[in-house]
Assembly symmetry: C2
Homo-oligomer: 396 residues x 2
């Protein structure tokens, strides 16, 4: 018998993918312009122009044996130096290149970190709504994911619920801010309180609890006053899992990094375990060309003003139509309260209007749908009558 768990994982397409595939078919039936597909989190703005330029420069100017050759498993030294310097300058940390491990994107950052930290039977807390793959990643690493519901309406951390969920088996907490699917950013006070709670519990129980910050959306914040606190400034036992997928609009190229906080005593052991986990999972090194590229465009981002425009358009229209929306501070998702208790049924009714909204159930929260607004502003404008019609259908 082959591995049944992985077979099931492969057979059950995620709800998101399922809806996306439906959308592709539906477009063939009724025309591309008549389907409003808000299913996927695939960046809709191109990479910054520097990406194309620097890719061409690298290919033209570098000896191909070097450019396409192996880097060391943790990544090219100079690339890691550029990354650590950049983090230090921006967040006032004192990381060295040996705190950085280059990865094939955020998912790899997370699986490698989880396999480095977890032993069988460990528990990992995350706050719902959460990215569904967390469960898959934690379970493969031998752990159990413990989702803790966030505060209703604000989707900030519910500390009463967190306190109840902490146990001596808690090895790590994954936070994701800006959040997929809610777009919520954790406020500084909330982050401080989280770190204090974990530190106190660690001390009381005599176990280390690691804080893993999953940060693919760090750069996607739309208002000047919104600050995304850097976790290392508040908590020693912390690891940042970063990805350039969304900030540089390179999701298919798989490039990111893990940064280990060197203020924790055993940071070198953690880094070694990350190197070991990377080996065991088959990650030889992150793609060399894209390692070199990100070092050259380290402070660039794609033009995220389109996302802000989309957010503002959707939030104001949906609010006007009577939907309850938590205004997202970042990412490119909107988590909207379904107009009936059953989000699956709501999503189905929306589908009849060719409006593809992902039911929030798979994100661990009932009664909501996720709208990915990394789409063309024009499609959003065309979709508004369908949103209105959907709302009205519940009033009759």
């Amino acid at each position: 018998m082959i591995n049944q768990k992985n077979m099931q994982l492969g057979k059950v397409r995620s709800v998101i993918r399922e809806l996306f595939e439906y959308g592709k078919k539906r477009k063939e039936e009724v025309g591309e312009e008549n389907v409003y597909d808000f299913s996927l989190g695939n960046p809709s703005v191109p990479a910054p122009k520097e990406v194309e330029e620097e890719l061409k420069n690298l290919i033209t100017e570098t000896n191909p044996v070097i450019l396409h050759g192996y880097t060391s498993a943790q990544g090219d030294f100079n690339v890691r130096k550029t990354v650590s310097n950049y983090i230090n300058k921006r967040f006032n940390t004192a990381l060295t290149p040996d705190c950085i491990y280059m990865t094939c994107g955020a998912a790899a950052s997370l699986t490698i970190t989880l396999n480095a930290l977890l032993n069988d039977g460990d528990e990992v807390i995350t706050f719902a709504p959460y990215f569904p793959e967390y469960k898959v990643f934690v379970e493969h690493a031998g752990g159990t994911l413990i989702p803790v519901q966030s505060e209703q309406n604000t989707f900030q951390i519910d500390f009463e619920k967190l306190n109840k969920a902490l146990t001596p088996k808690t090895k790590a907490i994954i936070i994701n801010s800006p959040n997929n699917p809610s777009g919520v950013v954790y406020e500084k006070e909330s982050v401080k309180k989280l770190c204090k709670t974990l530190a106190e519990y660690s001390q009381k129980s005599g176990t280390e609890i690691y804080l893993i910050s999953d940060e693919p959306y760090r750069e996607l914040v739309f208002d000047k006053q919104t600050e995304v606190p850097y976790i290392m400034n508040y908590y020693k036992n912390s690891v940042v899992c970063y990805s350039y997928s969304k900030s540089l609009s390179l999701p298919g190229e798989r490039i990111g990094y893990i940064a280990v906080n060197n203020e924790q005593e055993n940071w070198q052991d953690i880094y070694a375990a990350i190197c070991g986990a990377g080996r065991a999972l088959g990650y030889v090194c992150a793609p060399n060309l894209f390692q070199q590229l990100v070092a050259r465009v380290i402070d660039k981002t794609a033009d995220i003003s389109v996302y802000k425009q989309n957010r503002d358009l959707l939030v104001s229209a949906l609010t006007e139509y009577g939907y309850e929306v938590v205004k997202p501070d970042g990412a490119f998702y909107l988590f909207v309260k379904a107009l009936e208790p059953n989000a699956d049924a709501f999503s189905e009714r929306a589908k009849k209007l060719n409006l593809l909204l992902v039911s929030g159930n798979s994100f661990g929260v009932e009664g909501y749908v996720r709208i990915s607004y990394c789409v063309s502003t024009d499609m959003i404008k065309r979709s508004l009558p369908a949103f209105l019609q959907l709302a009205q259908s519940y009033k009759n």
Copy 2:
């Protein structure tokens, strides 16, 4: 406590890497030209010129949102179609795009396949000498690696030893031909006999045994008459793990694929388990730019004539100096009998002459060293006096 097994894996650098790092230091001390570094399997010839051209074309001509966007998890459909068509034409198979899963290179192909097939406690046989990471990959997937010694001197399969190693727990066999580290290619008769042995044992024991063919060196064969049999033509329960690292000299870009033989009854289940394992390990998709690239240069290889020249030069010189060498048919490795029983001691003595040869102990065979001849021919020429001196040091 963090994961101790992965921490150890990360701390213990492989013997190969250790020697390579020593070489870098030694070069600083005595000059680059006086160190003969045969440690790493890093291609020394550049990618074919079509790689640079097509990379530039792709970057210039393709919409970046598409070019750098996610592909489906198993890989872009058209890329998979190109790959399956190419395999079918070349090896007379009838694969469809849905038999192909694009990966981040050979290591990822193997870890994903092993996690798809294995359950805890399963055994995986391989033939020694073998690539040391097999043990790491198999153990992470919950299995135990069972190395079976090859025939002395020829390094072909020893069927008596194989028969003793087969048990009802045997889930898979990994073969690697051309072989790292011996360069040996399994002859057709040997492959046929292997397949017959496995089929008979499967039937007798009522268990399926999967044949995994690890093929990063398939294209690196130097003589016209040397044929590398395609495993799907001989055995139903088979999976091919391929990589473009060596054939296109792109080892740092991490691009390869898994091909599932669709002649086996449960091939769709295996493919699903591969998709599931890929998810669990954090492989979202193989790098999109390099997926598109390999589809455009599917029948190209780097100029491997340099490797042939290197092989011939080394084999004839070392034989003349009194070394026992199995002439390799492919890859870019030479497995040479140490001039004393202890290969570690032999490697140390060679090191004193600035000759960096990897002890074969970590490949599961005692009394040999591995020479990676993916180096400049000029370095080989300069190294010959040291090889001679090393041989003479054992005669005095």
